[in-house]
Subunit: 404 residues, 2 copies
């Protein structure tokens, strides 16, 4: 598998987070010769919050997490993730698998079952061979390492072309607080794995409702603002565990909120950079919208348009397709107030091509790997930004030239 | 240009419609050596109704038509269509072009300007060279032919790979009523031409509000139920002219309504069969939905999903992607009541793969060119059907491997 041309040079250095340890194993769920299970052990008293897919056909493990999130974990908690099988659309067998895994982890680590969270990512519709996972728990429980986060990032990949990680440390009240996270998603060869999973750990001290509201707010500006192909998975899950080991209360701390959101955004953008077949990373900014919802709607309409995405793939400064995507979005717009920029270049203004614009300038700009397209609707004061990638032969190759 | 593998064998025989004549010309708007203007002359007293794109960035000619539709045309009417340039997003120059064309047609044919309707299809953002069109009016006005509808269908194509026509004749009150129509759309090489245009003519007698309401209702079951790539054009227009020459009043005639809808559906499906890069024609039916809107939403979510469309291109019976598309649609759904059929084969039932289903049967079915995918949501009594095509390397080639 060729690594995405948009990948970061290497996996970042992520300091250990006090109160979190990782273990990984190769259990052969779908492929052998690679790790496919990761187990994270979280210290007693940690706060766990999460955000999950809104899909009406979500997987058993997602429903199980949603039920458990919000309870205290005085004895500690665990997160187990397997790749290679999504345990989605598997009827009652799905929940039975989740229950068996949680019971086994619970027994092995001495935790209540409701403190065990699981995610599964891979093929939809096949029963999860959960005994392969439960059999590996002895091995896993003997190999916990505080420095194991990069191995964990590798174990949760399906056909991602690189492991995704991010971290930030900040000084609060003279002490250091560290945030470290991993994610997987959007590099897909076997079908039905358009899943996004992300896990962030921190030694900050924060209560559940504060952490949950931070996650919700920031997810709306990060993970919910990326798109590769407009297809929402059955298994999206993002869980954050705050161990409190630093003894720094960050409940209303703006710097912490901003650092956490920064880590989320970094992981979200890495997922786009590993988008199927992607050769260009594109920031789509919309301003001058009548409402926040309208701004997001227009930005997503542009980011999801196959005609816009193929134009970008072809390095074609095709601003007519941007106009089309604005028009179809359903948001309030006025053709004669619309302005469009490709990077620093004003392309269209007040409903027509700008006199200062030349096709040559646009064509040269579009050659770059990192693009920025801005649209001002001129009908209000709201704005939004989303990130996407281009639509290439690589996407078709990955998803059509293949038999499941 | 290779003709779509899904094209009908030949252009259908369409009888002349009394009260309608056609003329075409080659004026060289974008390409030479092909006809690119068609003019239809409609007899005095005809009823004209129409349905247009709801895009917020619609073209000047669309706005002009919408303003004119609904007025009587006691002196007759005319429809002029050019291909090669969409006259969209051209600021005030756009309406000026429309005005000059309408004034010239009005003078040449002795009609009030408000009885002249125009459509333009082609590149967005370039000023329409309207003098090329107005200069051709003398030639056009000398070559009207009742039998010119096939030539008209050819003149309005952009990069369609075949001309699209359909007709139906029916006996009402012992007399024959004829409906004939043409359309263009969805075969695209030069960018920015994702437009659908359709024109239907009939010698039936019907008032404006009756005809308009027939069009609106039927458009919701035909043209509004097709999708190639989810991108809505700035220029979609569908106009129907009823000359009344048969002297058969069809105001509340169900057979006429059904025949008209049949012609609309045939044209709509021909557009899908000429979808960019299409190799498969796919009917998506949804039943058991909580509401009509939900049924349509789920059907369109499946039909527009890049992952579903690429699976179809690869002849992959990937029902997990159908589950995903149901889940993301936002419609009411219950994973454990979902059933899916590929043609006659039950694939999934009550949230899991059907025991009678085998991957081999599904894979063999998916080899066909004409596919039918049915989903029952099991949560209500509403249903909807839409038509789409697959997403192939051909689509990427047409839209990305090209510089505008």
């Amino acid at each position: 598998m060729r690594v995405s041309p948009l990948a970061p040079k290497s996996f970042p250095h992520i300091p250990s987070i006090e109160g979190v340890e990782f273990a990984t194993a190769s259990v052969g769920i779908k492929h052998t010769g690679r790790t496919d299970v990761m187990l994270a052990k979280i210290s007693p008293g940690a706060t766990i919050a999460g955000v999950f897919t809104r899909s009406a056909t979500r997987a058993a493990c997602v429903l199980d997490c949603q039920e458990k999130i919000g309870h205290d974990t005085p004895q500690g908690a665990a997160i187990l993730v397997n790749s290679g099988n999504a345990n989605a659309f598997t009827g009652s067998a799905g929940q039975a698998s989740v229950d068996r895994i949680c019971a086994a982890v619970s027994a092995k680590l001495g935790l209540p079952s409701r403190a065990v969270f699981t995610s599964s990512t891979g093929v939809i519709g096949e029963v999860l061979p959960d005994e392969k996972i439960t059999k590996s728990l002895t091995e896993l429980s003997q190999s916990f390492k505080a420095a194991g986060i990069e191995a964990a990032a590798n174990a949760i990949m399906t056909t991602d072309t690189f492991a995704k990680g991010s971290s930030k440390s900040l000084r609060i009240e003279g002490k250091t607080v560290t945030i470290g996270g991993i994610a997987k998603g959007s590099g897909m060869i076997a079908p039905d794995m358009a899943t996004m999973l992300a896990y962030i750990f921190t030694d900050a001290k924060i209560g559940y409702s504060d952490l949950q509201s931070l996650l919700g707010n920031s997810a709306n500006k990060t993970f919910n603002c990326i798109t590769v192909d407009s297809d929402t998975s059955t298994s999206d899950a993002f869980i954050c565990a705050a161990t409190g080991a630093s003894n720094v209360d960050v409940s209303s701390n703006i710097e912490f909120a901003s650092a956490l959101e920064g880590v989320m955004l970094d992981l979200a953008q890495q997922i786009v950079r590993d988008g199927e077949g992607a050769t260009k990373f594109v920031k789509i900014a919309v301003s001058g919208a009548a409402s926040q919802a309208d701004a997001h709607k227009v930005a997503m309409s542009i980011a999801n348009s196959p005609l816009v995405k193929t134009a970008i793939a072809g390095a074609d400064p095709n601003w007519g397709r941007i106009v089309m995507a604005v028009g179809k979005s359903g948001a309030k717009a006025d053709r004669d107030r619309l302005s469009i920029w490709f990077g620093p270049h004003l392309v269209a203004k007040n409903g027509w091509v700008a006199s200062s614009y030349s096709e040559e300038v646009g064509a040269e700009y579009m050659q770059q790997n990192n693009l920025s397209i801005r649209t001002d609707l001129g009908v209000g004061g709201s704005s939004a930004t989303v990130w996407t990638c281009d639509l290439t032969h690589g996407y078709i190759k990955i998803n059509a030239d293949y038999r499941s």
